[in-house]
Subunit: 360 residues, 3 copies
């Protein structure tokens, strides 16, 4: 892998504050080699639910994202001639722009539907008919929609790969991959099937996975890292915060999982804290209760890091931005590279990125 | 013409259901030769009203669209360096995205105004001033607007070609060209000045051409196919559904035209049924009456095909989607190619598509 | 400088009415040489406030814009690989499209946020967090926002150059550069430190610079042209229309400045009249009073020219469009080239435009 500092310089968009992550560290584990088979298996596939992944594919996507972060792959125009349709039936500038930036940087093109609820599609057209339309307009569809059932509906006719960018209270699989990309860059040993005990993490999740899709998808991937996550503590005001989809995976997981109510009790023991602001309840959003606010004088373990998919509200104080607990800015800075990795794999353009399987 | 199955495969976006159309069949009539003079005559021209076409130019545009559907012309970057402004003062994701996809596939660029009524232009600016602005921002303007008079207004100052993508209750000429592209692929003999009698069609139009611009434009083109359309039956709840613009062309046409009220009477005799959901009345829309709904158990002639410009509402049941009556999905799948053909001709880039005038 | 009429022809977008300006005339003053040092100094810089410029940099940007207007620089793809984020938290199709056209023509890419107030960003996210997000999505941010304080807020975390496209009642520096580009093409001697007396201009400004950002920024640049502007007359209904930011620069300026109330008194003496329709008061807009309307039968000095940043309302009658007083259409036609000049300088791509420093 020919990574030069100068080429990286033009590409890497570092976060302005908090911990700086180094993609090199993640690739050093495998001497620069990317695990290609799980990526090749994604060609032509839709990305709908984190359960379609396993630990190995999460790590492989992170390796590819690391390569994209380090190397100046733009000159190879990996998505040349491809059109991505970003269909947002629920407003989300952050996620939409992140996908669009990913596509444009790789020389793909974007057909943007920033607000499907307001513009023409709103003439009562069914998602099935919209899917039929998209067949002829683009090569891949990135969709966000407030209805959890939207994926099946659009796939009635859609023949192109579909990337789920959030379906109601369902899932947000690409966000979860971004979250794990940050963790794996932060502590590469988490990639290993058997992480050294002193590197394992006690993971805290503040929120309600059952009704918060980003939290749910993150937790679903966490359950795959059985050799790296020593314990999971879910901190929620709900008695049963997990929800139906994850009941079985949690029961089957060897990772000890506890649910507690008070964030203060758990904080001093957590190595990683995942927090999100927005719960999707019925057809509206609600914010996390103020009790769960993290701030600089919270009783955080030294060295603990905080993840947040952003946008944030009051639950995460800006006075943490300048601390080493802030992994969330570095996490956000990795989003474009993970989405590029997914698009390259799904659109079968791995061959445009040279030397992925070659050791340094 | 060098059409290889492999290049076509990457390009052709087949409909998922209903009849599959084959662009090759349309080109076989002329041994692969495209009739260039009517296309060359469009260079620098605006596309405002179907009356500016004649049968020969409709066929020539369909031939060029067929070439674009079959050949991998993207590598020739036919619209390289050209900017299309898509100015939608009335929301229409379907038409807007179809034009934008057409431009992007050919390596042109898009300046998108998805909702001119909401965004800045709404500061009371006149269409004449907007036209002056567009002179310097792009090379061609695609406009939809709720006012029938919008074309003259913007052309007060606009010096770039204007493509009318729907002007109030006026016209929608590119949609009509898409409709006829589907019919000509379905039954290429309709191209001929004198179609064999057994191939001629009895055409049924459900709707009110006077207030439905897509229906009106389709009918206007139908009147040009005097050797191919044996009869036109307009099925409408209105006593005089035709409207002022078409009164004269209809009177002058040798095609017998009848207006009836009850869809059930006509159905068993129609070879082609054109249906649309949306009537533009005054400054609002209304849907077609439920009486006119087509469904699988409607009394359709065997082999009859249905056209619909989409989006649909209740007037066209999804239970027809899986039948051979469904030509509307194939019709939609041709939209991008017809719009590409128009843009290539208007922007004077026919020379980027090699070998159009050469026999196979 | 190799300017051929044929290459220019494809590029130049002339206004349809009013005076036609000739960019060649501006470049003749320096035998085609562009003053590079002030442009090189803009690399990586934000464009926030006209006070960061001086006469020399305004002239240099106009020279570069003139080159871009005359030469077919598109083939050199000056912004290749660069992404501009156009973040409009206040609707403005004209300014947004002008920037986006500028970027696309030079082969850059655009991430468009046409209505930041409506779409996802509205989930209560702070501008500081949005700035952090933009770090990883693009290479330069063009922002319009209704809050005057927005620039500092987004720059809390934003590390990319920021171009202010209007901040509340603050400034609109790129519009002012466009205004002066028109004036300098119209009368190139205004570039000179010591313009011949008969070429100097008496400048009239109709409006309230204190609450009209475009007017304020134009006036701020005018104060730099001490050898070219013989007098400035501000015509406003307000007793003290200038506002705090300009009080000091006006006091320090050697140019005589008067404030009057009645437009009729001043009109016959003005060589250049700058008029704008929109005042930003508190958090809403109001239009200029009807008393200040300019029309064909206004008592204009022969040869006088009118500037207006557009969009216009009643304050500028369309019956002036066909007269030689109309410099505003030529002014608008120069907007894309000035924005290109700024983007090329800020994104450090002057080296893509050959022979800028070489005499013809």
């Amino acid at each position: 892998m020919s990574t030069s500092a100068s080429s990286a310089a033009s590409n890497v968009a570092r976060n302005s504050k908090g911990r700086i992550l180094h993609a090199e560290k993640l690739l050093e584990l495998t001497d620069g080699v990317v695990d290609l088979p799980p990526l090749q298996a994604l060609a032509g596939q839709s990305i709908l639910n984190p359960r379609q992944f396993e630990r190995r594919s999460v790590v492989a996507l992170a390796q590819l994202a690391a390569v994209l972060e380090l190397r100046n792959v733009e000159i190879e125009k990996p998505l040349d001639g491809k059109i991505a349709i970003t269909a947002f039936f629920e407003a989300s500038t952050r996620t939409r722009l992140s996908f669009e930036s990913a596509v444009l940087r790789l020389d793909g093109k974007v057909l943007s539907v920033p607000d499907g609820q307001v513009t023409g599609i709103a003439k009562g057209e069914s998602l099935a008919d919209i899917g039929e339309m998209f067949n002829t307009y683009g090569d891949v569809v990135v969709m966000r929609h407030p209805d959890t059932s939207c994926l099946d509906e659009i796939r009635t006719n859609l023949q192109r790969p579909l990337i789920n960018a959030g379906n109601g209270s369902g899932h947000h699989p690409t966000q979860a991959l971004i979250d794990w990309f940050a963790l794996l860059k932060w502590r590469p040993e988490l990639c290993l099937p058997d992480c050294p005990p002193e590197k394992r993490i006690h993971l805290g999740i503040i929120g309600t996975p059952g009704s918060m899709r980003a939290v749910k998808s993150f937790l679903r991937l966490a359950l795959m890292f059985t050799g790296a996550v020593s314990k999971i503590t879910i901190i929620s005001e709900m008695a049963d915060p997990v929800g139906l989809d994850l009941t079985e995976p949690i029961e089957e997981s060897p990772i000890p999982i506890e649910v507690i109510n008070d964030v203060q009790d758990a904080l001093p023991e957590l190595d990683v804290i995942y927090v999100n602001s927005i719960a999707f309840l019925g057809d509206s959003y609600r914010n996390l209760d103020d009790r769960y606010t993290l701030q600089r004088n919270s009783n955080l373990k030294p060295g603990a890091v905080i993840l947040h998919p952003l946008a944030r509200n009051m639950e995460l104080s800006v006075d943490l931005d300048d601390t080493d607990h802030n992994l969330y800015f570095a996490q956000a800075a990795g989003a474009v590279f993970v989405r590029q990795a997914i698009l390259i794999a799904v659109l079968d353009r791995l061959d445009r990125i040279g030397d992925l399987a070659k050791s340094r």
